[in-house]
Subunit: 344 residues, 2 copies
């Protein structure tokens, strides 16, 4: 069923997942479209962003940067919205805004957290190549990873929404860029479309040996968003003074408990010590105030000049969001995953 | 048997240890004192430094910063020496120098790596409070840890050669300083002599709960030189944007293989990510060119003013070095462990 003017479809968290989310952890319901009060706007959702961090918010503990989604509440998420009706002085009906309406057709907002998008020709880019995920790549790679010309950069999830931008920015900065991705199709995409010098299939046997072969000068920056066997392959190749921005560990988001041994923590610490590694976690919310304007300007120029490609994976229909999100955690998408909730 | 003018006693690596070193891994032998050739000096050892990094060099793989000691070769180590005879233009008989003569009474040197010590009244300090270990504390805490006034600093090995200085420098910078050490005696020493606000026994039950109780505002800097259950207790208490200089992981130096599970690596990465931790390994050799002069000046002033205490644990006799070193890895010492090889 498509979006309609009087019914608000919402995707609720039906149950906290045990390990991998399943369709039964979500529930689609319908409520009346709410009425804005004084100081509020009514938003209609055009695009919904689906991102791995949402898996953390399905757990009772939530995450350090955001509370858990309550069972029975709509899933949260970044959105591109049209203002349908406004009783807020700063917004008018028809405005295009970036918001956090979550997994639903309509939402009320008091204006906080809304960013006007003007008449952006491809508004979904505000969720990806000009939004959070590319900004994550920008801060993580440039500010923390600091690749130098001629250095080797390895991207753990080469064709994900973040990784696809990391790879392109690393090349743009003059680094050699090696990707790791799930499956031959993604590896081809990484090399042919995104400009990776080489891309290895994460699931192929002997990943460590293949990675060593394509990194003859070692690894200077490892952009970590996977963990697990990808990290196993990377660690022995890190050069002295390598930088490891930690953006995510998607291989572990579905872990219910610490995985079986052996314990790899001592070996990780030993590598950090002996090779003088700087490993640094970051949460992109911290960086908007200081770096978003720089990002928006530079990235806009790079996209306009064709130096960065904006790869999107668009799914049609709010009701497809749970399946698309489950697929995201399995690595089914390539590029930024967005749900087209409604035509404009 | 004490040092004599014509016999060079040496402690050799007899066998590579499996796990904890045992006395049979070392062998004391005697050779004639060598004769310096043109461009060489003959050094007599007064003090030998014993440090945990030596354990890594007993393994066939060595370490990133130094090759393995060959089986049958003298153990390596920093030393304070008198020049006995010189055929080198820059040195004269009688000069006091800092060198790397290793575990033996005498050694030849071509002068490279020798640092004149002038007429230093307590020359053993050149191995500790004015030498490598305190310099390690200085760079690790001040340059990497960067404690701010009012922050909480936790020192994993509070009374070790490095930790004893870390704790004092952290206090000097206005931080609250919590130590962890092995046993009640060391904890008392940490508080009463070294000025820790509190110190917990690493082996006491419920370390994590006790640490939480003495860190009501969380932990901003964790100076890591232990690993294992100390790190387990620290991780949940780290604040957002905490810094973790990684100086060593002494709890794991005797590990022959990765310890049994569960695998704590994913949880460590998750903490690094969610709390935006900067974890950074360092090897002190990298920092002499840029920071040693600053250290030597500042530390000299702090010691002279009584603001930093120079705690030493002195063992008499080269033949005691193996047992003292085995004890070092078990945490038997408090303060900088040095062997007085000979009177001056």
């Amino acid at each position: 069923m498509p979006q309609t003017p009087h019914i608000n479809r919402r995707v609720l968290l039906a149950a906290r997942p045990h390990g991998k989310p399943v369709p039964q952890d979500f529930r689609l319901d319908e409520t009346p479209v709410p009425e804005p009060q004084d100081g509020q706007v009514l938003l209609r959702t055009l695009y919904l962003s689906l991102d791995p961090y949402m898996r953390n918010l399905m757990n009772a503990a939530g995450a350090s940067y955001a509370p858990a989604v309550a069972v029975g509440a709509p899933m949260v998420g970044g959105t591109v919205n049209r203002v349908v009706a406004s009783r807020h002085p700063d917004f008018r009906a028809g405005d295009l805004v970036l918001g956090n309406a979550g997994w639903q057709d309509y939402a009320l907002s008091d204006g906080s957290g809304l960013t006007p998008l003007g008449d952006m020709p491809r508004p979904s880019l505000a969720l990806g190549a000009l939004g959070m995920t590319a900004f994550t790549a920008y801060v993580g790679l440039l500010d923390i990873g600091q690749p130098q010309p001629g250095e080797t950069v390895v991207v753990g999830a080469a064709t994900g929404a973040v990784g696809a931008v990391v790879g392109q920015l690393a090349r743009l900065k003059g680094a050699r860029v090696i990707g790791i991705a799930g499956g031959a199709d993604k590896c081809r995409l990484a090399v042919e479309e995104l400009g990776y010098d080489s891309c290895l299939d994460r699931h192929a046997p002997q990943l460590a040996a293949h990675l060593a072969a394509v990194c003859p000068n070692g690894i200077d920056v490892y952009f970590e968003s996977v963990g697990d066997e990808v990290l196993d392959a990377v660690l022995p190749l890190l050069n002295n003074h390598a930088r490891v921005p930690v953006c995510g560990i998607i291989a572990h988001y579905n872990d219910g408990a610490p995985p079986a041994g052996p314990d790899h923590r001592p070996a990780l610490l030993s590598t950090v010590l002996q090779k003088r590694i700087r490993m640094q976690g970051f949460v992109i919310l911290d960086h908007y105030a200081t770096r978003f304007a720089d990002f928006r300007r530079e990235m806009g120029e790079w996209i306009a000049a064709g130096r960065v490609k904006t790869r999107e994976d668009v799914v049609d229909g709010l009701e497809q969001a749970p399946d698309a999100f489950i697929g995201l955690l399995e690595g089914r998408n390539a590029g930024k995953l967005v749900v087209r909730v409604a035509g404009d």
